[in-house]
């Protein structure tokens, strides 16, 4: 493992983890997050109860 390998690994891992934790923080401090932030799994296609 070269120095450049360590740098690339650390930057990539820390960068992605940092962005993820920033988003977690943002969701936690955003009022109304539970109603207004969605994933595919909680969006109901309108035909679902057909």
């Amino acid at each position: 493992m070269t120095v450049s390998g360590w740098i690339i690994m650390a930057t990539s891992v820390v960068g992605m983890t940092g962005l993820f934790f920033w988003c977690i923080r943002k969701v936690l401090i955003t009022p109304g997050a539970t109603e207004h932030i969605h994933s595919q799994s909680d969006l109901d296609p309108k035909d679902q109860d057909e």
């Binding site: 070269t2 390998g5 993820f20 936690l28 955003t30 932030i37 994933s39 799994s41 296609p45």
Partner: protein, 572 residues
Amino acid sequence: MAKEKWGSKLGVILAVTGSAVGLGNFLRFPGVACANGGGAFMIPYIIAFILLGLPIAWVEWAMGRYGGKKGFSSAPGIFRSITGCNRTAQIGTLALIVPVIIYMYYVSIESWCLGYAWKYWTGGMQEVVIQAQEAVTSVDNTDNLSILQKEAGIIATKEYLLHFAGIVPESEDSASGNFRILREFSKGTMPFLLLCFAINFILIYRGINKGIEWFCKWAMPALLLCALFILVRVLTLGTPNPDLPDASIINGLGFMWNPIGHNLVDGKIVEVGFWEALSNPQTWLAAAGQIFFSLSVGFGIIMTYASYTKDDDDIALSSLSAASGNGFFEVALGGMIVIPAAFIFLGPESIIAAGEKGSSLSLGFFALPGVFEHMPAGHFFGGLFFFLLFMAAITSSLSMLQPAIAFLEEGLGLGRHAAVTLLGFITATGALFVSLISNNLTVLDHMDFWTANFCIFLLATIEVIFFAWIMGLDKGLAELAHGAEIQLPKALPFVLKYITPVFLLIIFGSWLWKEILSSGPYVQALKEDPVVQLTVGFIISIFIFFSILVRIAVKRWDKVEENISNSEEVSA
């Protein structure tokens, strides 16, 4: 009350992350990265994440919600409502076939995950390992007996799994091609493939959302913990076989992250320099393709689901949270586990050969059993990991069929059950095609390339051009910003109008130029290999079929609009 609120917000994060995580993170990413320059790949990957993945995900969310307000949930309808032109609905056909075709091979890999979990938990794998280890004890009696036994166990699980997935080299079996594949397939994967199909279609048929949401909230932390536990074990493997000092974890990490690519030339490893890797359009295409695949961008899936959002929903933060959760699982966990493990237990030649053949998705299935053989309660964790991966894959595969279901409903007037039945027939044909004419995974690999790289690239380029140049940035960004709690980047309009489309066109154009001029591996295979020709022919047939359906749908929509306008005139 405060606790409850915090818990439900955490549930939202887990649900968003859970929907985004799938096989692409743990199985596809490490193989693709390694085959395209190792650490050097991360530069185009991060650039593609920032300039393509995030902006196009936002584009899809905004276009989807806009289309939803006009009463459309599928790409043909959404494109037509944005451009006002019937021909653009035909382009939307791509957004129907991409997820449907990806589903065909995705469900096969899903069935491998379920099959592996079953074999680990029911002792099937243990039996194979014990038999192999006993064979070593009877023929060998050296000081390194335990190491040799472990090695034998790893080789035995690999062989076992090769047979299980029906990937048996012809030289190892006297039976002729098709019969051999059918025999292995029916003994190994078929029951699990049928079970996966049944699970998927029952869930889709009945309406699934509550169950999937529940899974994302509870099983995602379990998958995270399990992956962390495996990660710790991989990082503490050291040098499992003292006779092979080069097969160490540090060298394995180096193989993944050093900015040097590797090729096999006449069976010998040849290094590819940093700049050479970066100047190869294939590296950039693969990076963008991986971002699109794992973020589900350029599939048409996001657009369909976004059409179900309400006007005041925060689509900007929803999209960013999904992308960041996905990136975390992919880079921080996926990138640290599979390749270092494969390096130690399979050797660098196997990784490069898998990468050159495009078999990135299957690499994890051969490499991870080696890690589980070196873990306390390894078979339990092996079963747990593959089961959780199977569950994560289910959440992704379920969403892959929604764009086509939405189209069949709104375009042809089919009911949900009829639409699901029709799709069930089409995808079952495709999944059997992938499994039975596998020819050492050639069908799966080339289907993955032509849809998950080629078609997705085309679709993403078209989407961003429609959004920035036809729908108009003012209208599009206003839709995105409506209800958003985050400040969108000031550079976003400029990026969407110029950088993203130009970047996409340059990568795609230069790759196409090089691939055609120098008759690259995919074009070469298309010219020479009848199985590849059959695969591409199959993709084209699916495209033509859906294209005819879109034509019929457009006529129906025209007629409906004409009737509405006539009745308005009469009432006026």
